[in-house]
Amino acid sequence: MVNKASGPPDDHDDSTDRGPAIPAVHADGLTVVRGPRTVLRGLAFDVPRGQITGLLGPSGCGKSTLMRSIVGTQAKVTGTLDVLGRPAGHPTLRTRIGYVTQAPSVYDDLTVRQNLDYFAAILAPGRAAADRRHSDVTQTITDVDLTTHADSLAGNLSGGQRSRVSLAVALLGAPELLVLDEPTVGLDPVLRRDLWNLFHDIAARRGATLLISSHVMDEAERCHRLLLMREGEILADDTPEALRTRTHADTVEEAFLHLVDQAVEASRAKEPTR
């Protein structure tokens, strides 16, 4: 992975790279190859700090691959990808990023609390941190509204409850960047609303950055900024209002479809000149 020095040179020391001047995520020429396929093609974008950025696009457009690249679990990433001022995958980032995979990744044969206790012990090990861990775990269980199920086995929970356990793990240790891959899929409307309120609360209260993927377009309206993706490329990078105004659309969904049509036409126009 080639990581050139990126962004404007920050005047403070490298170790205090929390300033709003540096975006939470900075990508330039980001390309990912999986097997014979190029999944991401030279992406360039910034994710600003302290906001909720929605990553939207149809299934298979590369959302998950982009998220895995940011978290540092994706192989064969080329180009520049800086996360919180460090190259993606840097060891010091591992406590600063919370990540939720699409399928809930928790231990089905442990209770909700046991799951969180274990992951908390990995994030903040040692007996000295035991009290802090305990209050963190209790708080997180409350945040995802699972207090009444804290002692149930994760495997006995419903699909929506399990995905909230997975989300709770990502919230542990108050990470600066939360990368959530379709966290609201399969949840009922009330829960979805509550979770979005929680996301906004996390962004406002903790100043955390959230990158949330979804293929449900109505969730886009709840984001501060949107990255619209299609076939491994970024179609648009703007606020929901600006997108709607620019495309003269009433909803983000319409705006997205408009942009897709434009992109298809543009690529058709290029074809014959080959």
């Binding site: 406590t95 995979t101 012990a121 090990p125 040692g126």
Partner: protein
């Protein structure tokens, strides 16, 4: 670990091996098993039942029972731990928890040592019960110390854990994982000297058995069976088994990738 006055959000360092992360992992693995009492009961009881069976199969020839029984005391923990570990790590890979853990500040060594520690504890219980039953109730005639039998059993369990961890990287499903048992364990079982002394085998097979770790596990058990003291051969056998376990654990660690396609 006594880091008393760490600032609240100081990022915890990711070292190759952290004692508290290793013990947390071992505790988690044991906690998972505790929710599955049937597995624990089977792991602990089946070797005892098999020894009991064997004792009366060889009712007329106690000498045979001595030799096969001692060998089996070393082979059981290896097979059990191999199966349990390969399935457990496969589940960790397929459930996404491995990816999640490796995106966290967990060293690969922590994870592997955690598994080895947890299954080591189980292996101690399993081997202690089986050895105790064989020596005190089934009349297994051991000249050396039963503690040495236990030591070899523990090393075998470690080897089983290591092999299970390693092969799970090459299994895409539980079906494949259990097939590694006949593929990896059976040849060793046939060649380790359990059925016939190794020097009676075809020279080619004897050479192969010389490089298979289970052969040394069985040799070590037989040394304890026949000698009062810790012989040089015993020490060599124990070291070879331990060395192989560590080597395979290292290979297993290499199969854990933070970045995957």
């Amino acid at each position: 670990m006594t880091t008393t006055t760490t600032p609240n959000l100081a990022p915890a360092p990711t070292s190759a091996l952290s004692l508290s992360r290793t013990t947390a992992t071992a505790a988690r693995v044991l906690r998972q098993l505790r929710h599955d009492p049937r597995t624990i009961a089977m792991m602990i009881l089946i070797p005892c039942v098999m020894l009991l069976l064997l004792r009366y199969v060889f009712d007329g020839s106690p000498r045979t029972f001595d030799s096969i029984g001692a060998s089996l005391l070393g082979i059981f923990p290896l097979i059990t731990m191999f199966l349990v570990t390969s399935i457990a790590t496969l589940r960790e890979r397929t459930s996404g928890t491995l990816e999640r853990l490796l995106a966290m500040p967990l060293g690969k060594g922590d994870l592997i040592a955690g598994y080895a520690l947890a299954f080591g504890v189980l292996a101690i219980i399993q081997s202690a019960l089986a050895t105790g039953l064989a020596v005190w109730f089934l009349g297994l005639d051991v000249i050396g110390s039963p503690w040495l039998l236990l030591l070899v059993a523990l090393l075998d369990a470690l080897l089983g854990t290591a092999l299970g961890l390693f092969v799970s990287a090459f299994a895409a499903s539980e079906f494949q994982a259990v097939q590694f048992m006949p593929a990896v364990i059976f040849p060793q079982l046939l060649l380790c000297g359990l059925f016939t002394p190794r020097d009676n085998m075809h020279p080619v097979l004897e050479t192969i058995s010389d490089v298979l770790p289970m052969s040394y596990a069985v040799d070590g058990m037989n040394e304890v069976l026949r000698h009062t003291d810790m012989t040089a051969t015993f020490v060599r056998d124990a070291l070879i088994v331990a060395g192989c376990a560590l080597l395979v654990l290292g290979l297993g660690a290499a199969t854990l990738r933070r970045r995957t396609a």
